[in-house]
């Protein structure tokens, strides 16, 4: 059993509050020790990674991605999505069930695990559908899916519209101990193609107003409270500043803090509705891009802990699905391979939070949300999922270099700072952008094998 020692890095483990320059030893797929190593072992198969100037943290976790398999493999597969995850520094991702067919029974949950295992890149955890076929009419086989490894439940892409069905889903999912993740959009008020308001009016595009999001969040918070706050409720991809205020109130007591959480995506922290003015469908999202004021309120929500998790809502689409009229184009953008520097730009460079908080929201908080108790932390015995980040690495986002099968990225061409340079999953190096930092390993070329895994053609 080979050993990997990561030396000289700034080790940040938000789960334990650790933030110091020290060394980390991985062995047998687990964290073997944390603390200064006097003689790092690079004999035989053992390797030493010099993380000088870098942050060493638990492997990043993204609780909200779309991997499109089964059914839309031309957009992404579990393998290409996992490759994109690793390229962006993510060791674990949770894939949404809006596939074709939907992930709404135990066999399909097992299928995701099998495909992820075949790919052998990142950990992929399926989110099961709340309702059969995500149709909103009857509960899916939630307990069977939970037993097969679904780590949460969502009808993402659509919200659970009926209050009666939502009440039932909350109480039923509470029984499994898993989290209910809601796509917060009242279907009758939402459904537009951009933020409702003066710009949508000028452009002649159908508006999707903030209230469609806020109303569902408020309804769900009231429902859960009425049922004794037994379920864990997670509001996905917030877009409205008003939603932050509602969630802040909902979390103002112990029961609320224990059960209500929320996430925000990079695009909702960096882009505004103004981007839609040229009808460029790479700016068409669900929920839509809103205004600078919303961005400020979302950042406030991150700052004060109302928003607990950062998640990309990685949504691959083919060029054919995007290069049509704005109203006809598919919603969503990809995010896994550029999320880290974008979050840094939105949240650290703006002075809102520091690296330990950012990492907390990209690791242990998502792990806790999905009951991944051995993930998202670096305590001895935890899974050896580790990301090494060079916080000063400046690079230009080039979607043509992405491992993802899709290219729908409005951040293409942005110059950004901060990048995952090594991604380690279960003790195995899956990404090594800077191979010169590695020594030992009996001549085995870590970098080549890691890079080979990321070639889209190979997976």
């Amino acid at each position: 059993m080979s050993r990997l020692t990561i030396i000289n890095g700034r080790v940040i483990d938000p789960g334990s509050g650790l933030d110091e320059q020290t060394d980390l030893v991985l062995e047998g797929g687990k964290v073997a020790s944390l603390g200064k190593v006097s003689k790092p072992d690079d004999a035989g198969e053992n390797r030493v990674l010099d993380a000088s100037g870098c942050i060493v943290c638990p492997g990043l976790i993204d609780v909200h991605v779309h991997l499109r398999e089964p059914g839309q493999e031309e957009k992404e597969t579990i393998a290409t999505g996992a490759a994109a995850a690793v390229a962006g520094g993510f060791t674990s991702v949770c894939c949404m069930p809006n596939t074709s067919p939907a992930l709404d029974d135990d066999a399909r949950i097992e299928f995701v695990y099998r495909q992820a295992q075949r790919a052998g890149l990142a950990n992929v955890y399926p989110i099961g559908a709340i309702t059969r076929g995500r149709g909103g009419k009857e509960l899916a086989e939630i307990a069977l899916m939970a037993a097969s490894g679904a780590v949460g439940f969502s009808d993402d892409g659509v919200g659970v519209a009926s209050a009666g069905m939502m009440a039932k889903a909350l109480t039923y999912i509470a029984m499994t101990g898993k989290v209910l993740m809601q796509h917060c959009e009242d279907p009758e008020l939402g459904g537009g193609v951009m933020n409702a308001g003066a710009l949508a009016t000028r452009l002649g595009l159908a508006g999707w107003p903030r209230v469609a999001e806020e109303l569902m969040i408020q309804r769900d918070v009231l429902l859960n409270r009425a049922q004794g706050s037994k379920a864990r409720y997670h509001a996905q991809h917030l877009s409205s500043g008003g939603s932050v205020e509602l969630l802040r109130k909902a979390r103002s007591d112990q029961a609320g803090r224990a059960t209500i959480t929320a996430e925000v995506s990079p695009h909702h922290l960096l882009l505004t509705e103004e981007s839609c003015a040229t009808y460029d469908s790479n700016y068409k999202m669900n929920p839509p891009l809103r205004t600078r004021r919303d961005i400020d309120e979302l950042i406030d929500g991150v700052k004060d802990g109302t928003i607990t998790v950062l998640a990309t809502d990685h949504a691959p689409h083919t060029a054919e699905d995007k290069q049509v009229e704005f109203a006809a184009a598919a919603y969503g953008i990809i995010g896994l391979e550029c999320a880290l520097p974008l979050y840094k730009k939105a949240l650290i460079d703006s002075g809102a939070i520091d690296w330990p908080r950012l990492i907390e929201m990209m690791t242990v908080n998502g792990a806790d949300l999905c009951n991944l108790t051995s993930k998202g932390r670096l305590s001895v015995g935890s899974d050896a999922d580790v990301t090494v980040i060079d916080p000063d690495h400046t690079w230009t986002i080039d979607s043509n270099q992405f491992a993802s099968r899709s290219r729908n990225c409005p951040f293409d061409g942005w110059s950004v700072t901060g990048r995952a340079i090594t991604t380690i999953v279960g003790g195995e190096v899956k990404l090594a952008l800077d191979p010169g930092r590695v020594r030992g390993g009996s001549g085995a070329n870590v970098a080549d094998s890691a890079q080979a895994l990321l070639q889209p053609a190979a997976v």
Binding site: T201, G204, L205
Partner: protein, 320 residues
């Protein structure tokens, strides 16, 4: 006809996508150009050689009779070759896209594409993808610039403002389904730029508050604004674009917003009545009003021709 004014102005737009991106000077220049083309229609030989050897394509993805015919005739009078094409009704992800269609047409050596489409932004998308000129003949709920221009030419001619196309002191009410109307949007941008005061009138379900941001007065009471207006532009209720219920009944709408003879009697005696067509007679406008002395509805159609000649002529003169 020259593209240069004495002060060195030169028409700068290769495409005509909307009135929002035109300056007041652009609009006045185009309308002046249109006036110059007016005489062509009254000659015995109704043709000028301005676009001889050029190809204009009418690419219509949405049903249209009068706009299509008007563009066709306008291009013919400029001696252009005109190609009529019907695009597929809806875009599907695996089928030929709007851009594919446009590039195919362009490959035939086309100079101007006139595009009508049911999606907002379609003309802009087209303009970004092709090398030739694009004239927007209506895109979704966004803009219908030549309609806005012909409405302004009609107003100018009837109110004696063709000298400088200065609409200061003029109050124009646009009545009806504002929310779904590209005609309303183009009129708003154009009229405001020429200095008119614009009042938008309609039920709150068809007149969202966001229109106040376009520097217009908003009203839900036609009778209240009626005595103040110089021009009434009655929009068609677009039943096909309205999803769900926009007002309780046609009867209730007509009672509150329909332009009846009785209602017209309470307006200024010389109030100008316009309608972009096709009319729902007996809904937004009564026949007696539509066909009465205040109506400029047929003049709008006639003016459409020279406005479209001007549009085709000007965009074609600007190289990409």
């Amino acid at each position: 006809m020259t593209e240069q004014l004495k002060d060195g102005y030169q028409w700068p737009h290769r495409h005509l996508l909307g009135l929002e991106e035109l300056s007041a000077q652009d609009i006045r220049f185009l309308l002046t150009t249109a006036l110059g083309f007016e005489g062509v229609s009254t000659r015995s030989v109704k043709k000028v050689p301005a676009l001889r050897g050029r190809v204009v394509v009418n690419l219509f993805f949405e049903d249209s009779t009068r706009t299509r015919a008007s563009f066709h005739l306008a291009a013919s009078r400029l001696s252009a070759d005109v190609l009529e094409m019907a695009g597929k009704g809806s875009s599907v992800s695996k089928g030929e896209t709007l851009i594919d269609t446009a590039r195919n047409i362009e490959a035939m050596g086309v100079d101007v594409i006139v595009c009508r489409h049911h999606h907002s932004g379609a003309a802009a998308q087209l303009a970004g993808a092709v090398g030739c000129s694009v004239v927007n003949a209506g895109d979704g709920q966004h803009e219908h610039p030549t309609q806005g221009l012909l409405d302004m030419l009609t107003i100018a001619k009837r109110t004696g403002r063709t000298d400088g196309f200065d609409f200061a002191g003029l109050t124009v009410a646009i009545v009806g389904d504002i929310a779904h109307s590209r005609v309303a949007r183009s009129n708003i941008y154009g009229l405001k730029k020429l200095g008119a005061h614009v009042i938008l009138v309609g039920p709150s379900t068809l007149l969202p508050g966001a229109f106040a941001d376009l520097d217009c007065e908003l009203s839900h009471n036609l009778d209240e604004v009626l005595p103040r207006v110089d021009v009434l532009n009655m929009l068609r209720i677009q039943f096909e674009r309205i999803s769900g219920q926009a007002f309780p009944s046609v009867r209730e709408y007509v009672t509150r917003f329909g332009l009846t003879a009785a209602r017209l009697a309470r307006a200024k005696p010389d109030v100008l009545v316009m309608h972009p067509g096709p009319m729902n007679r007996g809904v937004e406008i009564d026949s007696a009003v539509a066909d009465g002395p205040n109506s400029a509805i047929l003049e709008q159609v006639a003016n459409g021709l020279c406005v479209r000649m001007a549009a085709l002529f000007l965009v074609n003169g600007v190289q990409g």
